[in-house]
């Protein structure tokens, strides 16, 4: 475990270095943030002053070095736009995104797993066929389009759920969370559903494929030969085995969930980091972009770690092989 962690950390540092370098060069090539941020009526003197103040007058390599120096001390710089430490800005917004992503994952599992099980157990049942065909929709419909449909249906026409925003939040562990209040939950439901659509399909398909692959295996037959009840066979023997690919894939998907949150957040005006990063890219707010990507990579490493732990818990074979 320690070994794995160390390896991952060393890798993550490499990845971060590489990525920051790419971002520095890339953003430099795209344009000068000052041109975007500065008012259209600001004169040369003020412009020069601001450029100097942001440190953008230095050659790129100097800028990068001073960024690295700062980063070593945990300072990723101030956002050009918000004039706040980038990291603080991200940390303010990230809980909302995480909450959304996790809620989407939870919905995907809660809805997808039973349906997938059913479709896998009775693959020839018309209902299963419908579900499997329907799950293709989850892959084919663009998120933004579904998002608006959801709003139209559930907010505008039916008026059941709010159309946008985050609702009431509660402070916990130094961050604001909305899943702890009824109002917050109501606000969370639609965007989470929207974001989870792709994942639901994925879970359904993984589960049903897993069931179909597991059922004919010898050990399932052996479990039946032992006289176990179908409930126990499916609930313990089959489920434990399909959880393994499920956890791995969902873990990998977490990154893309956070990425796609950008779209959902902008449709549902969800005040998360996705919206922030979108705006930051549009305004070339480099400290925020770099900070965000660093946080994401760290998050990814963490998620990978969790997945790996889960994976080891679920699949004892891996446990031994890797530590042996």
């Amino acid at each position: 475990m320690m070994l794995w962690l160390a390896k991952r950390l060393v890798q993550a540092v490499f990845v971060i270095l590489l990525m920051t370098l790419i971002v520095f060069v890339g953003l430099h090539a795209i344009g000068n943030p000052v041109d975007i941020l500065i008012g259209q009526d600001v004169d040369q003197v003020d412009r020069a002053r601001i450029i100097a103040q942001l440190g953008l007058d230095l050659p790129l390599w100097r800028q990068y070095l001073s960024f690295l120096a700062g980063a070593l001390h945990g300072d990723l710089g101030n956002s050009f736009v918000y004039n706040q430490p980038a990291i603080q800005l991200i940390m303010q917004r990230l809980p909302a995104t995480l909450e959304l992503a996790v809620a989407a994952m939870v919905i995907a599992v809660v809805l997808g797993l039973p349906v997938g099980l059913l479709a896998g157990l009775k693959p020839d049942h018309p209902l299963s066929k419908t579900v499997m065909a329907g799950s293709i929709l989850g892959f084919s419909l663009p998120t933004f389009w579904v998002g608006l449909m959801l709003i139209m249906a559930f907010s505008v026409s039916l008026g059941w759920l709010p159309a946008s925003g985050r609702g009431q939040t509660v402070q916990l562990f130094g961050a604001q969370w909305s899943f702890l209040t009824w109002d917050g939950l109501k606000h969370l439901l639609l965007p989470a559903l929207n974001l989870s659509l792709f994942k639901i399909s994925l879970v359904i398909r993984l589960t049903s494929a897993g069931v179909r692959e597991t059922l004919p295996l010898d050990y399932i037959k052996f479990a039946r030969a032992k006289g176990l009840s179908p409930l126990r066979i499916i609930g313990v023997h089959v489920l434990r085995n399909i959880l393994i690919p499920l956890v791995t894939v969902l873990g990998l998907e977490f990154g893309s969930t956070i990425a796609f949150a950008v779209v959902t957040e902008s449709i549902f005006s969800w005040p998360g980091a996705g919206k922030l990063i979108l705006d930051s890219i549009n305004s070339l707010d480099r400290p925020v972009i770099v900070g965000y990507l660093i946080v994401i990579v760290c998050l990814f490493v963490t998620v990978n770690l969790v997945v790996d732990i889960l994976y080891r818990l679920l699949d004892p074979r891996v446990r031994l092989e890797k530590t042996a």
């Binding site: 004919p216 030969a225 006289g227 176990l228 085995n241 031994l320």
Partner: protein
């Protein structure tokens, strides 16, 4: 039906429907087994040995189906039981051991979980008692430090150890009948010896009946009381082990025995059976062995032979059994 027969299979037919047509994997199979006896079921790959075993357990999955026959276990027809009742018998009165020790245990569950759940499935004991029982049974299978093995995952055990765990699971409820489907084929000779000796002890001790499925005639020779030879879904010869192996009646049985290297002089060509096993989808109208048989006649091509008794429980499905003159 004699009262001391534990199991009596009559006219069992199991078919698989495939896109190319129905496969008669088991066709007209009948045999009986007394308490405490060991039946060796032999035949080459695809001859329907496993399907016979699974049919008795009623573990045939679609596209397979038991089409006809009776399976009388202590006089009750298993094919008429409701699924719930059958579930109660499985692992309890009738148990099965599979061929591949690497695949029979669920890789993600610890040994104790897999044993205890079996105990609890058929009796209302406490978890602790179930665990004790599991441990004791493992011990009886010649596994050293069973307490530690209980905590292991299957992959941490060697193949032989895993197969012994599987056998222990089968034995948990002291079943009256065990169906062992090639349980030592994947194992080494020395390990096979260990397992065979444990099995022998157990049948002797508890009077359990055993159906030992294998393609290895030598193993059956050393272990079984009776023997049934299958070919293309049918039993072609059956009887006491000495009768069948020493005085085979069916040309196929003879061919098998003759092709064993030990039956031939060192370095000489082996006596081989020409040709290959027939395609179950396109069985000839007459005897399934017709094409490969040296004693075939026109009758064999047209008529299907029945399993005729030849005294002393020895029966053969052949018009021209060994020892009889073949009409020219």
């Amino acid at each position: 039906m004699s009262a001391d027969k534990l199991l009596e299979v009559r006219g069992l037919r199991t078919h698989f429907s495939t896109r190319a047509g129905a496969v008669a994997a088991v066709d007209e199979v009948s045999f009986g087994l007394e308490r405490g006896k060991i039946l060796g079921l032999v035949g080459e790959s695809g001859s329907g040995k496993s399907v016979t075993g699974f049919s008795i357990m009623r573990l045939i999955d679609p596209p397979g189906r038991i089409v006809a026959g009776e399976i009388l276990f202590k006089g009750r027809d298993l094919l008429r039981l409701r699924e719930k009742e059958m579930q109660h018998l499985r692992g309890n009165r009738i148990a099965m051991i599979f061929q591949d020790p690497m695949m029979t245990l669920n890789p993600v569950l610890r040994v104790d979980v897999q044993m205890i759940e079996t105990v609890l499935a058929h009796s209302n004991t406490s978890r602790a008692r179930a665990r004790e029982l599991a441990r004791d049974t493992l011990g009886a299978m010649g596994i050293s430090s069973p307490e530690e093995r209980l905590m292991a995952y299957p992959h941490q055990l060697s193949g032989g150890m895993r197969q012994r765990v599987a056998i222990a699971i089968a034995l948990l409820h002291r079943p009256e009948l065990i169906i062992a489907d090639e349980p030592t084929t994947a194992l080494d000779v020395t390990i096979q010896g260990q397992i065979l000796s444990e099995v022998q002890n157990l049948t002797r001790q508890y009077g359990t009946s055993l159906i030992w499925i294998t393609h290895d005639l030598s193993v059956v020779a050393g272990l079984a009381d009776e023997i049934a030879v299958m070919y293309a879904g049918r039993i072609v010869e059956q009887g006491g082990v000495d009768d069948v192996l020493d005085r085979p009646l069916h040309p196929y049985t003879l061919g098998l025995l003759n092709s064993l290297p030990s039956s031939n002089r060192h370095g000489r060509r082996l006596n081989q059976i020409p040709g290959m096993a027939p395609n179950l989808l396109a069985l000839p109208a007459g005897c399934a062995f017709f094409e490969r048989c040296t004693r075939r006649t026109v009758q064999c091509e047209q008529q299907r032979p029945a399993l005729d008794p030849h005294g002393n429980g020895h029966a053969v499905r052949c018009f021209h059994p060994i020892g009889q003159e073949v009409p020219a």
